[in-house]
């Protein structure tokens, strides 16, 4: 039997110091697109830092989970899909929503609980929706999104559509029944779905190996004879490549896949988490492996982004976030009269 130590080591297999994805990945893509990935990563970084700040200033209520440290996974995942594919995520979804094209202002307004938010102020941080951009929702119930994603993939297959479904989740989610039930169904019915595990190595205070008998999470797909792989979640191009391949296979061959992207969340589980359970040196080590810095270095080394360009992109992202806050501040709250709206169809929701 494996010991706890061995399991822990295995869980962190793709940890700091792993080799980077091949340089050929840079070559196939034009400079503008590559720079746009950088822009999206820093946009998410600034957005999330600002969301944390707005939470502590009581502009945002409820619970608020940030994508800090996961930017390469978020951007790589979204970039590997086509614009009309459908995306399901958990509640740690601000970055995905933005990458799918919901404006940061509308996302921020939703976090503030304002009427101009993408869920009309009804969903809050954990429940962002935008049908037009095929962002099918963040979900507050852990694992809640998985069967829904499978059902959506079923509907697509049923209609003979070309689009696919992509479903994000956390590492802790793989220990629940919905994960296993959903993978089984997806494979059994051969549905066009790509599952992504964002292994940030903790589910709240529980380290992967403390919650999962199999800490190599991608191996859980074996039980359903589903193709799967593990990638470095701090390497944007590696995530992108894996998602693009899985998406193609889903689209062309009707085969589901599971991808495990290993990264680390830079802060606590949610903004209010005092984060007492992670060793300081572990946090420091992973913070040094900042996905944004890694990608910036790559672009610089390849002569694709000079310092002036980097600064310009970052300033633009910062401005977009400031603008988002201003929009959210100035928007209105839903009124009490609307309480019953949307409980049911029809006038007044009743």
């Amino acid at each position: 039997m494996e010991t706890r130590q061995q399991r822990k080591a295995a869980a962190q297999g793709a940890g700091p110091g792993d080799p980077r994805s091949p340089a050929s990945l840079l070559e196939g893509t034009d400079r503008e697109t590559l720079l746009n990935y950088y822009y999206q990563m820093v946009l998410i970084r600034y957005f999330e830092e600002k969301a944390g700040e707005m939470y502590t200033r009581a502009r945002i209520g409820g619970y608020c989970h940030l994508n800090l440290g996961e930017e390469a996974t978020v951007v790589g995942f979204c970039a590997g899909l086509e614009a009309d594919d459908y995306v399901y995520t958990n509640y740690r979804e601000h970055g995905y929503a933005i990458c799918r094209g919901i404006s940061p202002a509308v996302v921020m307004a939703e976090l503030f609980g304002k009427k101009t938010g993408c869920s009309r102020g009804r969903g809050g941080s954990m429940h962002l929706f935008d049908l037009k951009r095929r962002f099918m929702g963040g979900y507050g119930i852990v694992g809640g999104q998985l069967p829904l994603a499978v059902g959506a993939a079923f509907a697509l297959a049923y209609r003979g559509a070309r689009e696919i479904v992509a479903c994000q989740m956390g590492d802790g989610t793989t220990n629940g029944g919905p994960f296993h039930e959903s993978l089984n169904l997806a494979k059994l019915y051969r549905l066009p779905v790509v599952f992504l595990i964002v292994n940030n190595q903790y589910g709240m205070g529980t380290r992967v190996d403390q919650g999962s008998a199999v800490p190599d999470l991608y191996r859980k797909a074996c039980a359903y004879d589903m193709r799967s792989e593990r990638v470095d979640g701090t390497d944007l191009l590696a995530v992108l490549e894996a998602v693009r391949t899985a998406a193609r296979i889903a689209r062309e061959e009707r085969e589901p896949s599971l991808i495990e992207a290993v990264s680390y969340r830079f802060r606590g589980h949610s903004v209010v988490d005092p984060d007492r359970y992670r060793p300081e040196d572990e946090v420091r080590r992973w913070r040094e492996r900042d996905p944004i810095l890694l990608y910036a270095t790559r672009l610089k080394e390849a002569g694709l982004m000079d310092e002036a360009t980097r600064q310009e992109l970052e300033t633009r992202a910062q401005q977009e976030v400031e603008e988002a806050v201003r929009f959210a501040e100035e928007s209105e709250f839903p009124s009490v009269e609307e309480l019953y709206d949307f409980v049911y169809a029809g006038e007044g929701g009743r």
Partner: protein
């Protein structure tokens, strides 16, 4: 007895520590309850004191948490499971409803399931749906399951001890807003507060108010204002065990006062208020001077923070209901 001012969190923590000391069969399980002491720190330090064998973390799997607790209970342990928020009970509901609650009944009394499932519930602290839901009404139609909701630290400790000692499964719902809202002198020693017994918090002659959890202080404040403004004497009864109800306490109070108001933050339809009202109709119709009034949440999912102050019952709303039932 040695008294100490405790918050509800401290009283519950103290109760759990006593259970672990008293009875080797007691085990605590749930998500992040060990090192982290649970989302609200109710199990703080208990793993350190009693070890990982007695107080342990589970994976993120509510169905397995409750289901394995059923197995443990049937086999002779005394599991106390924590579900992080009542909204997540739905994922373990199958085990609670289809297994725990029916074990005794379907085995013809051969098996029992002395299990306690603890879970925080309730609104008013700016958390969103699923983290603010009041679900007691959902479990009214689960014969075999008891549902307990304390309104103060003293009762919380004594009721939890009684729940652990009880031979049947108990869903123990802890109001989030009450967790740290006030301290109360609470004995350090072991004691129980009986399940199935309501408590008259304030005796009165003109009207009965039935409440539980965070609505007890709301009802008391309304009673105080009613005394001042309307000159009426209000009886406030804390139901404490919301299922099965303490029928005698309800009936004898209404027979005395002839008027009743039920207060809860859960949605209105099909809830505790509906059940108390039906009971009053069945057993005290001829004592009733006015229809029973309900002051409740609304029949919507729990609303966004901006609207929740309006959604929740307040002393003003209870006072309005008192005015209404006091009309001649």
């Amino acid at each position: 007895m040695a008294l100490r001012p405790m918050t509800m969190i401290e009283a519950l923590n103290n109760a759990l520590a006593l259970e672990l000391e008293r009875d080797e069969r007691v085990v605590l399980l749930g998500q992040d309850i060990g090192l982290n002491g649970g989302v609200f720190r109710v199990t703080d330090q208990l793993q350190r004191r009693f070890g990982e064998r007695r107080v342990f973390d589970t994976p993120l799997a509510e169905s397995a948490i409750i289901g394995t607790s059923v197995g443990m209970a049937v086999y002779g342990l005394r599991p106390i499971a924590e579900i992080q928020f009542a909204g997540f009970l739905f994922l373990g509901m199958s085990q609670l409803v289809t297994q725990a609650a029916r074990m005794r009944f379907r085995s013809g009394g051969a098996f029992s399931c002395p299990l306690v499932v603890r879970s925080p519930y309730g609104g008013g602290v700016r958390t969103p749906e699923l983290h603010s839901d009041s679900l007691e009404g959902v479990f009214l139609q689960t014969p075999g399951l008891k549902v307990v909701i304390p309104s103060n630290p003293y009762d919380a400790k004594g009721l939890l001890a009684a729940a652990v000692a009880d031979p049947d499964p108990v869903l123990f719902l802890e109001n989030i807003k009450l967790y740290r809202s006030f301290r109360q002198e609470t004995p350090e020693e072991y004691y129980t507060v009986p399940l199935g017994k309501a408590k008259t918090v304030q005796a009165g002659d003109d009207v009965s108010v039935f409440a539980y959890g965070a609505m007890v202080p709301v009802a008391l404040e309304a009673a105080r204002q009613a005394q001042q403004e309307l000159g009426i004497s209000v009886e406030v009864i804390d139901l404490r065990t919301v299922w099965p109800l303490d029928e005698e306490a309800i009936v004898s109070s209404v027979e005395k006062t002839g008027r009743a108001v039920v207060v809860h933050e859960a949605p209105r339809a099909g809830g505790i208020g509906a059940e108390v009202t039906a009971l009053i109709n069945e057993r005290c119709l001829y004592s009733l001077l006015k229809p029973v009034a309900r002051v409740t949440g609304y029949d919507t999912p729990y609303p966004v923070p901006g609207v929740e102050d309006y959604y929740l019952p307040t002393p003003a709303k209870v006072l309005a209901a008192l005015r209404q039932v006091m009309e001649p």
